[in-house]
């Protein structure tokens, strides 16, 4: 690679021509799900799960997608590795549009990209031993040739994620939530991927176990040089793990910023509201906050113009008129809001 990044150096603030740095580029991506009505005729109703989304992920960084339930995070994450096809737009992985790949090319690309799912209880096949679940990935991608080689690699992987190798002959139900999530991670890194989508990997876990898994993810990132899209609705977790943050609301991106900048000075009114809503175990800080009124609108009939305007404390009439584009507001952040006057 032309511009190798020294180990341990964060890519934050790395000012380099982006085309050398970018591993994944998302261009104008949409995903609409058709909703079948009661009649036999096809209806024109759609869930606008992801709408006009644009961003790029640099090599070696952890790019976090945050947002409340139903904002489109999972749908977006699955499109990034083509578990779902976008309705529109392009997903460029290492310079190539994933949608133009044929089956064989896609299989080769798959080896380079993996996903960890939210639920440690349902993401593993209950009828497969842990060893077979991980071994399967090794075989599919032709990473190991012999059984002995395979078993050795499985043991190494289990050790990497902090489990004893005796684990391999046991079944998922014999493990706790945290241990299962380790197994899912071992499976995800089995083929030595460059790119990992982690969809709420710690949301189902208790804090003590969550800390173990977050530490493991940080270690793997450093040792494997992984590029990651980390999906979460827990902002404290995101602050801990991310380099950059994208905030979604009703399928659209409201703001993208470097992590410290985002947490110290959120720009978009929704980012501000979201951050102020998070309860913190700090009694001196906890009592002053801004509470948003109203509920998230339906993705089947999102508000015209800015989708956040129905709950935004700063909304004006003009907000209903146009969808605000995600615009660069400084070298390191973009925001989609027409009320620039506020955002100084």
């Amino acid at each position: 690679m032309l511009y190798a990044v020294p180990a341990g150096l964060s890519l934050r603030g790395w000012n380099m021509p982006d085309q050398f740095n970018v591993l994944l580029e998302v261009r104008n991506v949409r995903k609409f799900f058709g909703v079948r009505g009661k009649s036999v005729l096809p209806t024109a109703k759609y869930v606008q799960a992801v709408n006009e989304v644009n961003f790029s992920v640099r090599r070696g960084e952890v790019f976090s997608v945050v947002g409340e339930s139903g904002s489109g995070k999972t749908t977006l994450g699955q499109m990034l590795i083509r578990l779902l096809d976008p309705s529109d737009g392009e997903i460029m992985f290492d310079g190539v549009d994933l949608m133009t790949l044929d089956d064989q090319q896609m299989r080769r690309a798959r080896k380079r990209m993996q996903i960890i799912f939210q639920d440690p209880y349902s993401s593993l096949n209950p009828y497969m031993t842990v060893g077979d679940a991980i071994g399967e990935v090794l075989e599919v991608h032709g990473i190991t040739k012999t059984t002995a080689e395979r078993d050795q690699r499985v043991d190494d992987l289990l050790e990497t994620v902090g489990l004893r190798s005796a684990t391999s002959v046991r079944y998922p139900h014999e493990f706790s939530g945290g241990q299962r999530q380790r197994i899912a991670i071992a499976r995800a890194i089995a083929a030595n991927p460059e790119f990992l989508v982690a969809d709420e990997p710690v949301s189902a876990l208790d804090v003590s176990v969550q800390a173990q898994i977050l530490n493991l993810i940080s270690d793997l990132r450093a040792s494997m040089g992984l590029t990651m899209v980390f999906i979460s609705h827990d902002l404290a977790v995101v602050r801990h793990i991310a380099d950059r943050v994208a905030v979604m609301y009703l399928g659209r991106i409201m703001e993208i910023a470097d992590v410290d900048e985002f947490f110290d000075r959120p720009l978009h009114p929704y980012s501000q509201a979201l951050l102020s809503a998070v309860p913190t175990p700090d009694i001196r800080r906890s009592k002053q906050r801004q509470v948003l009124s109203g509920e998230i609108a339906s993705p089947m009939s999102p508000p015209s113009g800015c989708v956040f305007r129905t709950r935004c404390p700063h909304a004006i009439e003009a907000c209903a008129g146009v969808v605000p584009p995600l615009e660069l507001k400084s070298a390191t952040r973009s925001s989609a809001c027409i009320r620039d006057d506020l955002l100084k």
Partner: protein, 335 residues
């Protein structure tokens, strides 16, 4: 400043166990906890620590459990032990003097009935009111919890509402009889943060307006800081530390409380590494003889911590901790 509010409810050495075959699970062990009038006490702990079981014991909603100890209720009619009440007496108590918001809102609302009918039904169960009046009470309570157009909403079904709305309905239902104590079991855990903030604010406002006491169950220290005056930390069925919210958050003494607080990623600063707690909670069917946290505790020493269970020791005004080595830790500033 001393707190002169009278005690409303008092758990005295409450234990709960379940027996299946010849195996007994000791799920709650000798809990002592008191709740004053108008006070909010939080019960916090990891999944499986016995929080829900404790609250269900208060409500007599554990048919197959063996419950020991006393749950004293200091009402207008004098003190009585709730555990000694008959099923019929308890039924009127439940939903009358004590309201409860259950952990899963979807399973505690009947999907087949309109919410107006469900709330009216709850009102008629405890108050001698007509159908008409019950409907008015239902409408008023929906208004109280901030549901817009409450009259029209009476005719909707649970599935037609969002999670946040359903949670408001649950709260409305638990409040129809103006309970003196509200038990809220993780009332915001399934909700988004902006909706959670709305519900917490609502509960705070209602508590102020109605002057009720609250037992608030959660595993989120952030939520606790928002709502509770006192905290009881549970681990493997026991209270391991309790005290004023500020004492617990700023000067935790028990290694478990400290470890938990250190394991939480912070919103205001980025740390290189989180302090994790290795290992898992012990099985309630095979508890260790000494301190239940000893197997995961970095400060545990043989014999002192592993041979006999440590007592709950009182440090100062209301701050108590269950740890044999507490005198050493109490002097160490919490970083």
């Amino acid at each position: 400043m001393t707190d002169t509010r009278p005690v409303l409810a008092e758990l005295q050495d409450v234990s709960v166990s379940f027996t299946k075959g010849n195996v007994t699970a000791h799920v709650v062990d000798s809990i002592n906890l008191s709740i004053k009038e108008g006070e909010t006490v939080a019960l916090i702990g990891e999944s499986g620590s016995g929080k829900s079981v404790t609250s269900l014991a208060i409500m007599h909603l554990l048919p197959r459990a063996k419950i020991d100890g006393k749950i004293m209720w200091h009402g207008k009619e004098g003190a009585r032990n709730l555990l000694a009440l008959s099923t019929r007496e308890m039924r009127s108590f439940r939903g009358g003097s004590i309201g409860m918001i259950f952990q899963e809102p979807m399973t505690s609302l009947n999907p087949l009935f309109k919410i107006g009918d469900q709330i009216a039904e709850a009102a008629r169960l405890h108050r001698p009111v007509s159908r008409q009046e019950a409907r008015q009470i239902a409408e008023d309570s929906l208004r109280l919890v901030g549901i817009p157009e409450p009259r029209g909403r009476l005719n909707t079904y649970p599935f037609e509402m969002s999670g946040g709305m359903r949670q408001r309905v649950m709260i409305a239902m638990s409040l129809v009889c103006r309970p003196a104590l509200l038990i809220a079991d993780e009332p915001t855990t399934a909700l988004d943060v902006t909706i959670q903030a709305q519900i917490l604010e609502l509960l705070r406002r209602l508590q102020e307006e109605l002057g009720m006491s609250m037992l608030f169950i959660t595993h989120d220290f952030g939520v606790v800081a928002e709502i509770a005056e006192r905290i009881a930390v549970m681990y493997a069925g026991q209270i391991v530390e309790q005290g004023a919210t500020q004492q617990i958050l700023e000067n935790p003494v028990h290694p478990y409380t400290r470890a938990l607080l250190n394991a939480i990623p912070r919103l205001d600063k980025r740390s290189a590494r989180l302090a994790s707690i290795e290992g898992v909670v012990p099985d309630p069917r095979a508890l260790p003889p000494g301190c239940r946290f000893a197997t995961r505790c970095q400060f545990a020493v043989p014999d002192l911590c592993t041979s006999q269970p440590p007592p709950l020791s009182e440090l100062q005004d209301g701050h108590a901790v269950r740890c044999a080595r507490w005198p050493e830790f109490a002097r160490v500033e919490y970083a």
